[in-house]
């Protein structure tokens, strides 16, 4: 290895240690390093957003020739101010795994054979035509991702919804963010957080609701710890169903029984009203009260349908509703002491304290995900702690562009880049911008993700193109959906960068460009759009997902709608897409501005980013002369919802007596298809495990590292026990991370979902355990 490359790797090695130090010792400084780094001067650094979570850290990718050799945090990016976590620091190594998919493959006589990519694209276009001819337009589907770039999602939506006329477009963000969206829509009538990450430094109290930020949003968590250290009067509360690294670092850890966060949130509101901590001026001017249907089901059956029916209620009716949620009653349901409930209420209720709530998968992957989002908003609305610096109900995203691509571009069955397919006005706008006949856009949504895979299993869908995601690991009740893909007469196209259990079921595999091998844009959790250039040449025949779709669209006869050249298409697509959001509530920055900066927040109005929405001091879309304007709803108000506690779809019983909870670990990104190919991350966390409570393990005679069989009504899996590891579940619960394809925990999970958002609940089902 040459000396230059060696010194680059040493810089990467040092960067990694510095990052680790930064997350353990907030505020740590290494003056010596800065000197060395400045002196090195041998690497060319290029800005990009990290692709390994929704935090959206800005990174600088260090290039030696045309090889990416190092990563450091971008000091100009306000998200991370030069910090990175262990995944970000090692991210470039994911580009160079030995088994990278470099050539297109087609299944012939049961075997995958390499073919030129143009031939594979021909086959895909021909198969789509044939399927539509035989089975109708709704027999073809696209399943994408919150890791799609914005242009990827945009062209997918344009091709399927605008040109082919089917609403069969979904993305894996349905599995992670759908409840956040319906939470925003039902409470505020407009999607995405009102606040920004600066809330972290402004807040006096931060409460994490079922959100292990120390592992899942590590850079934001470092900012929280740094703020606590600097200000000395900051309190961090971890409210969760198991003890994690977040609980250990918090000032107080409060555990609740699965699904009972609904009851606790209501009890907090009960206490706020009982103690008259209500901000009456705010509530009277800016909120209205509502209720919806109850006993709303769980969606475990095919063709499940649900439509909520909102009704206005008075404050008095809301207050009466809350009488079922006194702290004492809720203690019995939730296992949280009345004292702790009152303590949390007192933090929210104290007018002198600024409070930010954070959540992510715990509240979203929840059979009442929409409701629990509503209920946490209720707390902030009753106290008026919203849309001001430090006062923020903050729904975090998991994926780098779940917001940018799926939520903003609208790559879900019912959505369009602006608005929904059901509204003629929105269809008209799309038809005009896309240059397609209005009649092309179907006013009826088709299938949400779980139902889309059910339709594939039933045979209603015959062709599915899967990009940048790995559903053969992530679908709940996995066996049914894998069997569905393998049925006779199904045709599956998978675009990916490495072989996965999803490429295993493919009929065609397309070699995709990864991250900075293409130009693209992501959108993070705080409404920040982040552009990146093509920095690294991709290997072999790899092609961006956007360009793959364009190539197929042209083969299907839509040259007019996809006219761009290969050297300009990202900029052109961005400027076309931007027309959908040309209003002060959602204006996006021009391409030129995005290229220059480390991310720009929308609404971007008159050259200025909007930090806090709905607050007229910061948000130019607010009506003149108002302090706050919740302009998403027709009544100009934020909605407070009476939503009851209802239990999970499946709870432990005599036969299946444990809760199963699933999730992630800091070292690995989602299904591990990229991070498990980064040696240092793989070595740090080589295989999955089942976390057990030490007392449960002792009762079963299971020692740390011994094998345990986890059995549900759907399937079973055997893996090693982790006792008193980095996370400890309470008695009666086990936790399994899903990053390891050798242990497919979703064989065991249940495909129940929130009837409003249709997002599955990966945090709660019933299992029994056997010592293996």
């Amino acid at each position: 290895m040459n000396t230059t490359r060696r010194s680059f790797i040493k810089i990467a090695a040092a960067s990694s240690a510095l990052a680790a130090a930064g997350s353990i010792f907030p505020g740590i400084s290494f003056a010596e390093w800065k000197k060395q780094e400045g002196a090195s001067g041998k690497i060319n650094w290029h800005k990009a957003p990290c692709r390994f979570c929704g935090t959206g850290c800005g990174v600088l990718v260090g290039m030696s020739g045309d090889r990416a050799v190092a990563v450091k945090g971008d000091p100009n990016c306000s998200v991370n101010k030069g910090l990175c976590c262990v995944k970000g620091f090692h991210s470039v190594q994911a580009l160079y795994g030995k088994d990278r998919i470099k050539k297109a493959q087609i299944r012939r006589n049961g075997k995958m054979v390499e073919v030129p990519i143009s031939e594979a694209l021909d086959v895909i276009a021909a198969k789509m035509k044939e399927t539509i001819k035989k089975h109708g337009k709704d027999s073809v589907a696209m399943y994408g991702s919150g890791q799609w770039t914005i242009p990827d999602g945009y062209v997918a939506s344009k091709l399927f919804k605008g040109c082919l006329g089917t609403n069969n477009v979904e993305a894996n963000a349905r599995l992670c963010m759908a409840s956040a969206v319906t939470g925003f829509m039902t409470s505020f009538g407009i999607d995405e957080p009102m606040g920004c990450y600066e809330d972290i430094e402004e807040a006096d109290v931060m409460i994490t609701w079922g959100n292990n930020m120390a592992e899942m949003h590590p850079v934001l968590f470092s900012r929280m710890l740094a703020s606590r250290k600097r200000k000395n009067n900051v309190t961090i509360i971890d409210f969760a169903t198991r003890t994690t690294r977040t609980s250990q670092a918090a000032d107080k850890s409060i555990l609740f029984k699965p699904n009972t966060d609904l009851a606790v949130a209501n009890a907090i509101c009960y206490e706020i009203i009982r103690n008259d901590w209500v901000n009456w001026d705010f509530v009277n001017k800016h909120t209205s009260f509502h209720k919806g249907k109850t006993n709303i089901g769980y969606g475990t059956e095919d063709h499940f349908k649900f439509k909520d029916k909102p009704e206005d209620i008075s404050f008095e009716e809301y207050k009466t509703f809350l009488e079922d949620y006194t702290p004492e009653k809720v203690e019995r349901i939730s296992g949280v002491s009345a004292r702790d409930i009152k303590y949390m209420a007192s933090l929210y209720g104290d007018p002198a304290k600024k409070v930010t709530s954070f959540w992510c998968m715990g509240m979203n992957q929840h059979v009442r995900g929409t409701w629990i989002n509503n209920l946490v908003y209720n707390i902030h609305l009753l106290t008026g702690k919203i849309s001001t610096p430090g006062n923020s109900p903050f729904s975090l995203t998991g994926q780098p562009s779940a917001c940018g691509t799926v939520r903003e571009v609208g790559t879900l069955t019912h959505k369009l880049p602006h608005g929904v397919v059901m509204k003629e006005k929105d269809r008209k706008m799309a038809a005009e911008i896309w240059d397609v006949p209005l009649s092309n856009i179907d006013p009826k949504p088709t299938y949400h993700t779980v139902e889309m895979f059910r339709a594939l299993d039933r045979g209603d869908i015959r062709f599915m193109w899967i990009q940048v995601t790995n559903p053969m690991i992530t679908m709940p009740k996995l066996k049914r959906y894998r069997d569905g893909c393998l049925k006779e007469g199904r045709f599956i196209v998978v675009s990916d960068v490495y072989p996965t259990p999803t490429t295993d079921v493919a009929d065609v595999i397309l070699p995709a460009s990864m991250w900075v091998e293409q130009e693209g844009l992501y959108g993070n959790s705080e409404r920040r759009t982040q552009h990146f250039d093509r920095i690294v040449p991709g290997p072999g025949d790899t092609m961006s997902d956007t360009w793959q779709i364009i190539e197929v669209a042209r083969r299907l006869g839509f040259e007019k709608q996809f006219p761009w050249g290969e050297d300009e298409y990202i900029g052109k697509i961005w400027e076309e897409y931007r027309r959908f959001h040309d209003n002060p509530k959602h204006n996006m920055a021009p391409y030129k501005v995005l290229k220059e900066r480390s991310g720009v927040q929308w609404p971007f109005v008159n050259g200025k980013e909007t930090r806090w929405r709905f607050n007229s001091k910061y948000d130019p879309a607010c009506k003149k002369g108002t302090d706050f304007d919740f302009y998403g709803k027709k009544d100009g108000k934020a909605w407070i919802w009476a939503r009851p506690y209802e239990p999970a779809a499946e709870s432990p019983d005599q036969e299946y007596n444990f809760w199963l909870n699933t999730g992630r670990v800091i070292e690995h990104w989602h299904t591990g298809s990229m991070t498990r190919r980064i040696p240092v991350l793989h070595n740090a966390m080589p295989e999955s495990y089942v976390e057990m409570n030490p007392d449960d393990a002792a009762d079963m005679g299971v020692a740390n590292g011994e094998k345990v069989k986890i059995i549900s009504r759907r399937g079973e899996i055997t893996m090693k026990a982790s006792i008193n590891g980095r996370g400890v579940p309470p008695r009666g619960m086990v936790f399994v991370p899903f990053f390891d394809e050798s242990y497919k925990i979703n064989e065991v999970t249940l495909d129940a979902f929130c009837p409003i958002s249709k997002q599955p609940d990966y945090k709660k089902c019933a299992v029994r355990l056997e010592k293996a």
Binding site: A14, F30, V680
Partner: protein, 76 residues
């Protein structure tokens, strides 16, 4: 040709000693923190065997309390 990095914590009050000890060892480069009792260590050795020997000597340093690896690269 392994390159590794570590976070090294010194024994109480022994950060300076630790820095001296590490700087004199073949294949070791250090970046001490200027406000915490932590030292970043990057090791660069010609082969696995030398790496193992170095790791053993590191573990025997009296000024060193703990060593945690943050990066590992074994060059082709």
């Amino acid at each position: 040709m392994p390159i590794l990095s570590y976070l090294v914590l010194p024994e109480a009050g022994a950060k300076e000693q630790l820095c001296t000890d590490l700087s004199t060892m073949e294949g070791c480069e250090i970046i001490p923190s200027d406000n915490e009792e932590v030292v970043v260590l990057v090791t660069d050795t010609p082969d696995e065997k030398t790496e193992e020997t170095l790791q053993k000597s590191l573990k025997n340093l009296p000024s060193l309390q703990s060593l945690s690896m943050t990066f590992g690269h074994s060059a082709e």
